[in-house]
């Protein structure tokens, strides 16, 4: 059988290294991080030392210039750790690419090497209390004052919000009326006067992830911190959201695979009337149905990864995949809990955390309703 994704020996060896690293440096700490509500900065550094961050950053900026399959591998292996706090894919494959693709030479030289090393943890600030799916209603303002940009406003539900050293921030120029031409992206360093981190949110899941609110009060950044050309923010966001949503699909499918594997093992061991519960037809069919969905998701996902690497425009397919795989992962989480019975609801059982963590996948990076709307639009409906 021809595999959709052509992993080389180098990729396989890389996966082994990543897996071994997570097993040693992450898995033993997960419970502690979940309790603490944040992961320590030190683990970001360790990721960087191993070359597991921002793998596509070109060599001249301290990166390894590796292909997207390396990101896929890190994302999939991270899913196996059953926690979300160490949001490396967010940093490596969602936020930093804005700087790599649109940053000036100066910005790239200044920031990229430290993003690769894990010295700088990044976050992306788009969502506001009254601007979720509707980016055009964003109210955070960026006003030009000579060589400076004056930022005022509030962002919310920002992943890596507490840990972030560097922010890619979306804000609008109040003098530009057309909302689609008013948005720009700025790089903002933590510690810049006027940039304050607010509270960390209590959440259903993602307990080790420091999702926070951010405040900007006459926060001044140099004009040169703007990414790309003036007024290009909306287009940049639209362009980069394809990869962001693909990353969500990777989390969903890899997560579903892990949950199902663990549940199948449990069903083979757990006995009822002297037989393993995996021998009961009802359970068998449930498991087969879930495994079918997981395989469909995997096949769809791998095809999209291949197309994405080839640089194809797959906005429709990624929107479809984001809605379908994230709902599939939730069906699998629910079905797995069902097979564990009462023990499934105890947090001691990893499936409980997986189930809580999986719920957000159909909400963030654009809700599934938004995904269907995008697909409809690009299908010409």
């Amino acid at each position: 059988m021809v595999e959709i994704l052509q992993y080389t020996e180098e990729h396989r060896a890389f996966r082994e290294r990543v897996r071994a690293f997570f097993e040693k440096e992450v898995v033993p700490c997960v419970d502690e991080w979940e309790e603490a509500g944040i992961v320590p900065k030190s683990v970001w550094r360790k990721m960087g030392e191993q070359g597991f961050l921002c793998m596509n950053v070109p060599v001249e900026y301290g990166g390894a210039g590796r292909d997207f399959l390396h990101s896929v591998i890190v994302g999939e292996e991270l899913a196996r750790t059953n926690h979300t706090g160490l949001a490396a894919p967010l940093h490596s494959d969602i936020v930093v690419p804005y700087i790599t693709s649109y940053g000036s030479e100066e910005l790239k030289k200044k920031y990229l090497p430290r993003c690769v090393s894990g010295e700088l943890v990044t976050a992306l600030a788009m969502t506001e209390p009254n601007a979720g799916s509707d980016l055009a209603s964003m109210t955070t303002t960026a006003v030009e004052e000579g060589d400076q940009i004056l930022i005022n406003g509030q962002k919310t539900f920002i992943s890596n919000g507490m840990n972030c050293d560097l922010l890619v921030l979306a804000a609008r120029d109040p003098v530009v009326e057309n909302p689609y031409q008013a948005i720009d992206l700025y790089v903002v360093e933590a510690g810049t006067p006027g940039f304050e981190k607010g509270k960390v949110f209590g959440k259903m899941g993602w307990h080790s992830q420091d999702t926070a609110e951010l405040f900007f009060n006459d926060c001044k950044v140099p004009k040169s911190n703007r990414l790309g050309i003036k007024g290009g923010g909306f287009v940049m966001l639209m362009e980069k959201l394809q990869q962001e949503r693909l990353v969500c699909c990777i989390v969903a499918v890899a997560g579903a695979e892990c949950m199902l594997d663990a549940t199948i093992n449990y069903c083979k061991e757990r006995k009822e009337s002297g037989r393993p519960i995996s021998a009961f037809q009802d359970n068998q069919f449930r498991i087969v149905e879930m495994a079918t969905e997981v395989k469909l998701g995997r096949t769809f996902l791998d095809k999209l990864i291949a197309d994405h690497i080839e640089g194809k425009d797959i906005v429709v397919e990624v929107s479809m995949a984001k809605y379908w795989t994230t709902e599939m992962a939730q069906r699998v989480a629910d079905g797995c809990i069902q097979l564990y019975g009462g023990f499934g609801c105890c947090e001691e059982n990893p499936i409980g955390r997986s189930w809580r963590d999986t719920r957000v996948l159909s909400i963030f990076a654009g809700t599934n309703e938004i995904m269907k709307g995008i697909a409809a639009k690009f299908m010409g409906l």
Binding site: K203, S273, E347
Partner: protein, 379 residues
Amino acid sequence: MDFSLTPEQVDIQKAARDFAQGEFDPDRTLEYDHNQEFPLIIWKKASELGFIGVQFPEEYGGQGLGLLENALIVEAFCSQDSGIGTALALSDFGSEIVLRHGDENQKRKFLPFVTQGKGLSTLAFLEEGDPQGPYETTSRLNQDGYIIHGMKTLVPFGSLAHYLVVVCQAASDEHLGQSILLVARQTKGLAPLSMGQKVGMRMVPLDQISFKSVRVPPENRIGHEGSGEYQLRNFFDEIRIETGAMGVGIAQAGLDRAVDYSKRREQFGRPIVKFDVIRNKLADMYTEVEVARLMAYKAAWSFDQGKPDHRSILMAKMIASRAAYRVTYETVQIHAGTGYMTESHVEHFYRDARVLDLFLESEPVQRRRLADEITRLTK
């Protein structure tokens, strides 16, 4: 056929709603949930006002009402808050067995504790081993009484309950089957061990309970030796109806918040309730709530008529707990990012609904039992 509630039932429903609205402080709710804490003060007040165990006769501290009236109260509580509602509903868990099968002394001694807010009760029946096999927890009768050995798991309020209703394998004669014993929580040799945090229904903490030579006086056996299975089956009918009412309440809570939020939340220049996708979700949610309610009420009504309809009762729990799960899923989805956050006060509805669905018996087991009923293969 008359689907309307009596004026008395309407009054009970209103009183329960008013109580829940007045007493279930939303911020305190989040603390209870976070700390896995039973809402003691609210439960005391509810007991004082006669909301707990209304189906128990007045001589035992109840109101002498039916399961439908109890269902109305449970639903009203859960529709205000899924966590507090389920915790209060389960505060007398297992006492139904004492009421239906206990003798006069047992009823007088134990029931007023739970109906008058003096203590909680619980039922210990599940074990870690083969669910189809004989219980490993045994009760052996000697001259002084029973001696219990074994281990029970997933026991609600295992460490808080004043007394436990324990299902044991009668060890004196293995053909006897199961017996049910009333055991005071403070009895020597009985040790609860917390099972830690759960994904939902956190105000009903679960414990594992070990029994090491626990001595129980002979008069604490409920009903005949070996009648445990029969008693448990009857109890399941009763508690499934109550669980159905919890599901209806949680689903209603999810629906109410979703309707309210979708009218307030504006995106793309209009309230999101103006979008077809949201309207369709609300229509489906409303339908699920109403179907679940009809089935739960019918099940309760059949019980109160003295002719419990097992099929309706099985369906009531199954439909209502799944309705609660699906409806609150959409409640979270409609709230989107906000809905995932604790402070939205809706994410715990979804977690609670998930656990409710697993409570007593999971949906696959219920289906199996319903199929048995339909095909008359019940053993």
